[in-house]
Symmetry: C2
Subunit: 405 residues, 2 copies
């Protein structure tokens, strides 16, 4: 069997190999990229699915429109309005099979060999791979804790004339970075100035740990920068706030893009599970989302605080990191120093090696290098605080300190 | 916004335009391509989803493996065994978001510009479009009521060296044709002789109207033709027998193909809804499928019989057709004659024109020409008997006769 050459552009993730080791008994894992199952609102989802099958059995079980189940599209418009995205009509979004499919449709609709896509460095691994299957060059733009470096972004837009720029402005995976409002406005200006498509991936913005929510999304802010709305494609997701297992995401864009993305979806999976869509619609309609969000925010905020404190205490100057203001992840760098700031004789700056050592000490995290499209920083690590309770976080950090010795 | 050139290979379906007219009040529609919602086992699905969320809430709502939810994969192995496909292990299949996604993964994994895919003429429209988005030439191989013409198929394999041959051996959409067991064996021999991948799409084989089931699938028969199993990719679906809204299909293939298809799926939608998968798994486990299948078979068989008799009675020699032995569709051809066999003064052999006339008479069907990859036969029509009861079928045929006048 001879396979398509597009497969040569991607390799199976190094992380997948690591995940095979996580079955080890007694391991404390900070490696996951998923929310805590213990916080799913099972009763609310059960009631929503029961209502879907009782009140709308036909639409819940029959083929549906590729664009999505209209009652869900209407609920998603209302959900986005709670995040300051207003003035949308449900025809301006399509429902996707998770936001992973939204990214795939962006790739299929827009990218081809010879194109360039710019992404943050580091960024969501599955985006890099997903785009590469469509043949473009994928290049990383450096970031700091305030998000993408906009001056470098402008230089790279001028130099590479990218077809798209992919950004996760709020609490990205793996960086946890939060793009400042000033930079968001600059990004929108660059989009207009260089007629560049900005793909905004926004699965984490509801998971903030501050009293106030993060800056408005690029999509919401585009009202303030004339002409910029036309260049924004927005990807939303129910996965981090309600349930990943429903596979309900959505895609917002202007009509000419959205009609083409819909055609690609029609021949990709016909439509997203109407059963899952109707369940999500009844859930959103039930009004339970607000308290669900409050609950996950407070639990994750507490775990993030504990992880930050515990990491400082146990690993001291061996790691540098910023405590994230939202999301699911810490992004840390090996400094090559010991906890007390003194030099190692043979310092390691290799996150892969450290990850293997850590597993020997029954604690797991993900090395950061796979999250770079190019020029990986080998000294980086991603640690999730989402699925471990306080005791495990503290215990895990102690084990990490031992592994570093 | 500049779109990918791959989109130039497909146009939005002509059928979609037709479907917009179906909202007309009082219309009798034979146009649909879907099963009858009235026959969904709503109570069984409700109970299965309740059990999924009660007994397996974590796995039903959390991220899952791209390959699929293992209890469902095990149930699908058992389901296939009832169709004579034996000796499979659940690792030899992956769950897909409907069999439409299985087709998309076949395209993404195998097809690229410069390739040729052979399909039946006529065949499932969404397969033609799905494949074309990956750039190959798609060519039709003629068929009759006994399936693809295997001698022509061999000639075309020799001439075009296709990367894949896509076949729906049992009751295909739109043809309703049933490939004979003799031809099935020849197809398997051709696969081995020419090292050609055969993609077997099998969503309809459970919907048979005869006392005995149709011939075994190519996948099952491959046990009898040494070496042929390696060349078969099999696509299964729950959509026509349980519910399309769950979007549960599956893909069987050899390990090197399946691992690549899994990678493409990973970056396509991460995994199929675990909620839908767990619901399907509990449904299959409940043992209700056998009686569900008996029920849909008997209802569709009756409707097919009525449509055949009524079409003969009302349209006589104006249409030529074979009454299908299973599936959801009649495939008919305008003969250019009147009901009584006499000549029209200005005979029409244009199915598109006839479809428009029919809608004026409040009855709808789908013209057959879009179902050809090339060289469409304009005189063809597809009529579904799945969603209309007997009275509607008879009434609709009377209207069709009026439209033909």
């Amino acid at each position: 069997m001879q396979f398509s050459k597009r497969l040569d552009n991607v390799e199976t993730s190094a992380i997948r190999e690591l995940f095979k080791l996580l079955g080890k008994p007694g391991i404390i894992s900070f490696a996951g990229g998923f929310p805590d199952s213990a916080m799913f609102d099972i009763e609310g989802i059960k009631e929503a699915s029961r209502r879907a099958l009782s009140e709308e059995p036909g639409p819940s079980l029959q083929y549906g429109a590729t664009e999505g189940y209209n009652p869900l599209r209407e609920q998603l418009v209302e959900f986005m309005a709670t995040k300051g995205i207003t003035g949308l009509d449900f025809n301006q979004l399509i429902v996707t099979t998770g936001s992973q499919q939204a990214l795939d449709l962006v790739g299929k609709t827009l990218l081809e060999p010879g194109d360039t896509a710019l992404v943050e460095a580091p960024t969501f691994l599955a985006t890099i791979q997903c785009f590469r299957l469509y043949g473009p060059k994928v290049l990383g733009v450096p970031i700091d804790a305030d998000g993408v470096l906009v001056d470098v972004l402008e230089e790279m837009i001028l130099k590479h004339k990218p077809k798209i720029v992919y950004l996760v402005p709020s609490f990205g995976n793996p960086s946890g970075a939060l793009t400042s409002v000033q930079r968001r406005m600059r990004i929108l200006e660059l989009a207009v100035k260089y007629k560049t498509v900005i793909v905004e991936d926004d699965p984490y913005s509801d998971l903030y740990f501050t009293p106030d929510p993060p800056p408005l999304s690029l999509l919401a802010l585009s009202d303030q920068v004339p002409g910029s709305r036309d260049w924004i494609i927005y990807c939303g997701s129910m996965s981090k706030v309600l349930s990943p297992g429903l596979r309900v995401g959505w895609l917002v864009g202007k009509p000419d893009f959205l009609s083409r993305a819909t055609m690609c979806k029609q021949f990709g999976d016909a439509h997203t599970s109407t059963f899952a869509q109707a369940t999500a619609a009844f859930y959103l309609k039930s009004g339970r989302m607000a308290s669900t969000l409050e609950n996950v925010r407070s639990v994750y905020a507490q775990r993030a605080r504990v992880m930050g404190e515990s990491m400082s205490q146990e690993l001291g100057q061996a790691l540098s990191f910023d405590t994230p203001l939202g999301g699911l992840f810490f992004w840390a760098k090996l400094t090559g120093l010991k906890k007390d700031g003194s030099q190692f004789q043979n310092p390691t700056l290799d996150g892969n090696l450290f990850a293997k050592k850590a597993i020997e000490h029954n604690v797991a995290f993900v090395p950061g290098s796979p999250f770079y499209a190019d020029n990986p920083d080998q000294s980086t690590l991603r640690l999730s605080f989402a699925t471990a309770d306080e005791a495990k976080i503290k215990n895990g950090m102690k084990r990490l300190a031992l592994a570093l010795e």
